[in-house]
Amino acid sequence: MEYARPSTIEDALAILGSNPNARALAGGQTLINVMKARAAAPDVLVDLNGLDELRTIGIGADGSLELGAMATYAAIMQSPEVHSTRPVIAEVAGMIADVQVRNRGTIGGNVCTGDPTNHFPPLMVALGAAMTVRGQDGERRVPAEEFFVGVYMTQAGPGELLTRISVPAPDGRGDGFAIVPIGRDGTAIVHAAACVRANGTIQEARVALGCVDAVPIRVTELESRLAGGDPAESAVKEAAKGVGASLDPPSDVHASGDYRRHLAEVVAARAVVEAAGKARR
């Protein structure tokens, strides 16, 4: 295996583009483990830790939260920009793994790994984030909803890098995240994220579920049932009924498909209730 630590994005892209089995190394909190197990064996590892420009967290001209792909969970938890715009991102970052992992793991790595149990994919879908993907030919913006292609697969293909995640300004909307993990703050069994605009009634809701499929699932049916409805817990729970039936979640040692269907309804409702409660009237 070869290793490179480029100091510019251009260099990184050039190396990534020169070998189809080159992989970007962000925080390494998943990739290095997978390599240890020899479940993956990249020919070239392109270490992004020399690219400070990817670590920035800022506010865009339109008020959007601009997260560099190499921003660590720890940096996100402490970022005033995150807290002043979409604090849910900091809260969720604080639920991921443990201190050591949060010190090194990055948001870009989290979404690009695309493990179904990762926290950020459903959150980014619910928040309507846009991913900036850069290749040697230039960059493009991909809505989070389209970004996730499969387990461990995203729109950032070979030779490309996710450089930035843009989360729209909250504009009065409230965000929520609910999870049933194994133990406290452990690996997710099912999670859900929601973003709600409410003013006595729910005006608009975006809800995404994680761990119920290869990619985060946006539950548009539920969203339309919620729109115009009562944000009270009982009403939201009522609206969430039937969400499970529309899913085909995997069965594994932590949950049967049926249990995930059930949990999906519970966490979707909890995320929506939390989001509605935080929406500015």
Partner: protein
Amino acid sequence: MSETTVAPTTTETEAPQKGFIGINVPRKEDQRLVQGEGLFVDDVKRHGMAYVHFVRSPYAHARILSVDVSKAEELDGVYGTLTGDEVATLTDPFFQIAPLPGGHVKDYALAAGKVRHVGEPVVAVAATTRELARDAAELVEVEYEALEAIVDTERAADPDAPQLHDDVPNNTIWDGHFDYGDYDGALEAADKVVRIKRLHFNRFSSTPLETSGAVVEYNRGTGQWTLHCNNQFPGFAIIMMAPALRTGMDKLRFVTQDIGGGFGNKICTHPQLVALCLLSRKLKRACNWTEWRTDQHMANSHGNERLFLDVEVPVTDDGLMLGFRARMIDDCGAYTRYEPLGCIIWAQVTPGVYRWRNVRVEFQQVCSNKSPCGPNRGYSRMQHLWFTERIMDIVAQELNLDPVEVRKKNYIRSEEMPYETPNGCVYDSGDYARCLDKALELIDYGSIEERRREAESRGKLLGVGIGSTLDSGTNNFGQSQLVNPDLQFSGNNEVATVKLDIFGEIVVTIGTTPQGQGHETTAAQVVADILGVTPDMVNVRAGHDSYWNSHAGFSGTYASQFAVTGLGAVKGAADMLAGEIKRLAGGVLGGVPPEDIELAEGFARIKGNPEAALPFMACGAIVNANNAGLPLELRDITLNCRYVYVPPHQVPDKERKFGNLTLTYATQIHACVIEIDEETGAYDIVDYGAVDDCGIRINPQIVEGQVHGATAHAIGGATHEHFPYDEQGNLLTPNFYDYHVPHAMDMPPLKTDYLESPSPFTPLGAKGMGEGGGAGLSAVCSAIQNALRSAGGAIVYDSCNPYWRVWELMSEPAKARENVTVEAR
């Protein structure tokens, strides 16, 4: 053989004065361990050492058609390989504990001809670095012919099930009938009979944080191997290995220092150690093997999985249970490495803490295409004690009895101690009812109903649970004869030497292999009190080395016995040394009789005349380096005393499977409170109380630490830790990704209390302890069932209850309830 077992003789040796015994002396081990200066097995390095990686079977059951190591051996940096065929030529199969036909199992260091579980070592590869060894392992070509795997315990004994081992029909390793008291009479006398179709105790393991490993060197000149390793029971390993390697026992020198947790899981490493012996001899270099975590999960000892079928409990109207009947199937996995001892070990605690006099058990052990089982903290008793506590809670629920009152009614009483159980075990001392009261106090039992209502208002179902264990320690290995009458094992022993050296240094060696139990410290406490010094002045050698000659056949650290056997040996040796010092000093100080000499502050002095004193340094110097002036009658004094502690065991009655199987029975009663989220089945343990009674506590802090640790294992085992397999025999939780062990946030704050009921049978009144975690397993299951009473009243039938199972119990309580019937007589 006498008709009833006689209780062991009450020990009447002079108890050392309590000076350092009973107080929290800081551990000697800590100084090195908090600075990263411990010596764990992977820290041992040798010049030119090879790193070994095992090629492992991806199949649960397959015939090995061919093995080709040529490409691996050609790789630069590879020293060589070892194949199953070589092993089968160079060694004999390991000795089997089971009688025939179970004894037909042929177990080698590497798979020979067939693989029987995923992860079974097939080839060993040695190279200059860890990574290169793995590279080379990937180049080994093994061709398999897959065979149908059997993973289902119940189906394993079906005549049409695939057979793992030649000449072991129906995959049945052992079966036996246990019949105590008058079960039929009890059934006749019962007012009600509660029947439970099926209870299941899950496979899991304590997964010590340090995996297994060794650095093995071969001395070509002497033909001796030195095994720097973390095996926790060298006595057993050597008995297994020497005949297999066709060598003498003394050719295997075992050395351990710091061991990163054992919990029984490091007893059965002898197959890998044999492979390393062969490799180090073949390659003429030291060989390091450090197990990968994933390999540890896939191929190291798992705790025994056990099914309890057709359980029947006769009960009288006033809630007295008269005994039980059950069919038990124990699943030991692919090979019998320590098995079938699990088929008898449970009988140490046949009625648990209860006065059940009539017991009938059909016990069967089967093998299956899963990782081999071995001792795991609470070995075989934990499974059984969980079963007794499940009986208690299920019967209580079905007959609407108060779970506290019914326990107290059925508990063996303190005034009945020593108590002989229906199978002849003699519980030495204890007060279970008082322990229960203390446990309930810890969790503020009086306020439970109020807390239950408060929890309900938050959408939580609150439950309170109680569990018990008897941590039976100081095995009588004679129980092995109850599974195989031809075996020649009985009793137990442990060794210590205590010497006084030239400069007055006190040096203690023990045959044990501690893994965190603080033996260096507690041994020093005992010696200090006997020799009248401080523990600081006692140098206890770290670890184990068979060169010290301070070990015996059963030496090791396992099965809750150090406080009895280890410290018994230490006390014996120290008493001998004290006697020698007194005789010596008396002689030197002018013919004073030894009984007039006292040992204090590093001096041997004449009682009542502290001026007439001989410093220890002088004693050591006279005997070791200046002895020409010693009178002849003192010349037998060596100041180097070796003592073998042998507990007062007798050979049990093989016919009746009757006799005292361990010397001490420490008590644990735990109580806990849990809250289940009524929407999801996810739950938290919100309150926890553990009460331990292990007789005299040498170092209370160490005892309490064992209580904490055992409880954490129990909570892990009751909640998320399990080793499930798919139908093809793939382990589904092969590492800490999916095998969730409790972390700091998962563990509830533990409240502890204690009782000291001294054992009348042991040198220090202490009892072995450390395996009492099973109480927690029962308590958590009990609490879950209690919480679900208002949600359909499901019974908890499995020892491991991840959220999905709790949700199933909540959403389909009727299904779980089908498991139980009550017949009124």
